[in-house]
Amino acid sequence: MQRIKCECGHVNPEGTVLCEACGKPIEQNQHIDGNENKKLLNMRYEGSARRSKTYNKSIVDKIWNFFSSVKVGVWLIILTLIASAVGTIFPQEMYIPPGVNPAEHYKDSYGLFGQIYYQLGFHNLFSSWWYMILVASIGVSLVICSIDRVVPLYRALKKQRAKRHDVFIQRQRLFGETKNATSEDIQKLVEQLKKKNYKVTEDNGHYLAEKGRFSRWGPYVNHIGLIIILLAAMLRSLPFMYVEDYVWVREGETKVIPQTEQQYYIKNEDFIFEVYDENDERFAEAIKRNGEMVPSNFQTNAVIYKVDGDTIPGQDPELTEVKSGEIIVNKPLKIEDIDISLYQASYQLNEFQSMSFKLHVKDDAEENAIGEFTFDMQNPQSEYDLGNGYKAVVDEYYPEFYMENGIPASKSKYPRDPAFIFFVYGPDIEKYEVNFLAIGANLNPSEDNKYKLSLTGLDMRDVTGLTVKRDHTLPYFAVGAIIFMIGVVQGMYWYHRRIWIHPTKDGVWIAAHTNKNWFGIKKDLEKMLEENNIEMPKDQQQLE
């Protein structure tokens, strides 16, 4: 590596623009920071030697330079931004109603645009390979651009001397000459600076007052935070870090919890659904406007069991209770042993558990039962014996009944609104009699049935839907987010201010630089110099 020795004696690495120690511009490198035809020096990176600006030969150099360019970085950010916006035009696939065919859904709901959207794969945009590549490129860019800058910047700030080259001083944005300033004036200024918490160093009667250097590391700290967040997102693909599943449990039912290797069971003791009182004077108007009940609470009272010992296949396992508690929205229940949490995610009210029927003579006003049976939704039979030679055969069972163009059909397999077609056989029935039963109706297709099936009772229960989740990546996200915030605050709310006091033969030069907030450093200087004989430096770069 070629090194460049400055007239002040300091040896700089190749590619240096301003001597790390005294700030003298190194002639052959001025094009790098665009200083050639400018009055002011570019102080962005202290004129330090950055790899990306120094080498451009090998393929590694080229990739390095590509990713360390802020222009490229901003383009990546903008592309990600646009892609994300596209992803919100229509709902993503995970937000369309469950069970529908996405190919048809997008076409039917959003017409031609919806169809194109679907065919381009935008319905799963955020998990598409190209979106991931975009985000990953931002990550790569973050790493490379940070390394490219932080190392030389660190060197330059560490090596800087209080005594700077004349040219460096004159070509600062804030610069002023005062003739006839005495050393008392200078001493007074130094005291004032110290009082303002500047760190003052001296070198041969030259002074450097510096404040807030650590804010220069802000961007790099925040970029590290972002990188940690991106890494945490990658960790999610590992099952021991992250699992997610779903389970529906009916009231009274005990069910194995998925993702626990059949070791844990949950019992739904009770599902509680509460709504706001529509007579509550505070909310009456809003509830009326809403047109329906406003829920106030969803809650599952659950008991968690662990399997005791080995299970013999085909036999029910032995269970011991490990904990019981409430699962409420915003208050998940955690099973500590296996680090799994259960979240109240969904529910289904009043699912039918069983329905009881009796057979009687149609014209019997008393409806005396000839025979009775109970249809259990968990365990449906194909026929039920009613005694005395009578039986009911299930011809059709519609768990969630509706009429589709005059033909009965079922919306789902869940018993939310059951309907049946029974064939009733008996010794005095010629072939069989058809009974069509739905809730609240016996829609007998034929008028001349002799017998009739009637509903005598039903059992209903609620079903709770729980998300089962283990997430060991959360702490990483948290750490990343905290580091990001620290970095941003560090870089934004503090400023790196430097003021150089440069005595000359017949007076003193003052130069000042800040990485941001020029308004603030000017105010600082104005205040101090008001009570001083030294003149306020001029801003050599007023916008217009």
């Binding site: 903008i78 916006a85 406007r289 106030s296």
Partner: protein
């Protein structure tokens, strides 16, 4: 409704009026011949009134909280009003850093527009559904809107910069887009005027449709330019709709929202035309001479400082607190819900803003345009995403 609710509403009304008067005092400083930095009497009264108005609005907030039992940030009216309040707060902070009275002349009207806009939505107290019952609701919503409000100050500063600096002697793309910004603000005014006028008249049109045995209705409170898709007007003696809302606009209320949008755009156009007739020049050109005294350098600095302060606050509230809450309420801290995605877009946009400024030297005018676009994104998230794009956060 109870007494606290009434007290709260009166406080809000009072702050609206006080802000209005404060604006007038700030405007009076324009004519002031003295230097910008020296505080004039009108400016001092302006900022004092602003602070009094702000305190009164805190009164609104506190009493409404007592009335409903939860922090009033849970529906579109409450959230938007709170955003207006935070905008005033952000202005007060920035004012004490830079002491620029002209900022008040522009920020307060924007805050008034936002609060006025908010009042057009249902104002009664609403109960909290279970997923909103969390302290994180307050923490998240308040930080987000504070962050967005500080970012909005950068918009106001950017706007001042553009009006001050853009060459008005010739017609250009820049003058066009500046006028477009003015027109958008006028659309909000038109929306407020039209909605409150027809509300005062108790205007109502009902549309109905019957599908699969179910009857759906939708109510318009503005005369129907466009009827809902496939619905029949059942209120007699009303203006006949000119056309039907296209079917790809989803939902029973799509027709109403589209109709309201059309009215606002047309109303804005009428107001803009009127302004041009009176001023006899572009609105930007008419305001420009009033800003002669403004130092563009300082205004540019305000644009940047507001982003520098607002960006971390927004990130904290809009992404980090939001994620923590989403983790508790919906068991996933990030779910690509439209509102979340738009928060991410806002975040990326301002990250872009900062990089362009810091590393690519986008100062002054470029930076000012970016601040305007950033505000458009925030408003998009506040209004369009809530009202149009479906998602978990849809308030109305």
């Amino acid at each position: 409704m109870n007494d606290f609710y009434t007290i709260s509403s009166n406080f809000l009304y009072a702050s609206f009026m006080i802000y209005l008067i404060a604006t007038i005092f700030f405007a009076a400083t324009i004519r002031d011949k003295r230097k910008e930095h020296k505080e004039s009497k009108a400016g001092a009264i302006g900022i004092s009134l602003t602070i009094i108005g702000f305190i009164s609005q805190i009164g609104y907030f506190v009493f409404r909280w007592i009335a409903s039992g939860h922090a009033p940030v849970s529906n579109l009216f409450e959230y938007t009003t709170f955003f207006g309040m935070m905008l005033v707060f952000a202005f007060i902070i920035i004012y004490f850093i830079y002491r620029i009275t002209i900022l008040g002349v522009f920020t307060l009207p924007v805050a008034l527009l936002i609060i006025g806009y908010a009042s057009m939505f249902p104002r009664e107290l609403s109960p909290l559904v279970p997923s909103l019952k969390s302290h994180w609701l307050y923490i998240h919503v308040t930080t987000v809107s504070l962050g967005e409000a500080i970012l909005a100050v950068s918009f106001v500063a950017g706007l001042i910069y553009l009006i001050r600096q853009i060459d008005q002697s010739v017609k250009s793309k820049k003058t066009f887009w500046l006028e477009f910004v003015m027109y958008s603000l006028l659309c909000v005014i038109a929306f407020i005027i039209l909605t409150s006028t027809f509300r005062a008249m108790d205007y109502q049109v009902v549309f109905e449709k019957t599908e699969a045995g179910q009857t759906y209705t939708t109510e318009y409170h503005l005369p129907p330019i466009t009827s809902p898709n496939d619905m029949i007007m059942t209120t007699p003696d009303r203006m006949n709709p000119l056309f039907e809302t296209p079917g790809w606009m989803q939902g029973v209320d799509a027709g109403r929202k589209f109709n309201t949008l059309l009215w606002s755009l047309l109303g804005g156009l009428a107001l803009y035309g009127l302004a041009r007739l009176i001023l006899r020049k572009r609105i930007g050109a008419a305001i420009q001479p009033l800003l002669e005294k403004v130092n563009p350098d300082v205004v540019d600095e305000v644009t940047y400082r507001a982003v520098a302060i607002g960006f971390p606050v927004f990130t904290l509230g809009g992404l980090i607190f939001a994620a923590i809450w989403a983790q508790e309420a919906w068991d996933r801290f990030w779910g690509w819900d439209p509102k979340e995605v738009w928060a991410l877009i806002t975040f990326l946009f301002y990250a872009g803003f900062l990089h362009l400024r810091l590393s690519r030297g986008w100062h002054g005018e470029k930076s000012a345009w970016l601040a305007v676009i950033g505000f458009a994104i925030i408003m998009f998230n506040l209004i369009v995403v809530n009202l149009v794009l479906v998602g978990l956060h849809s308030y109305a």
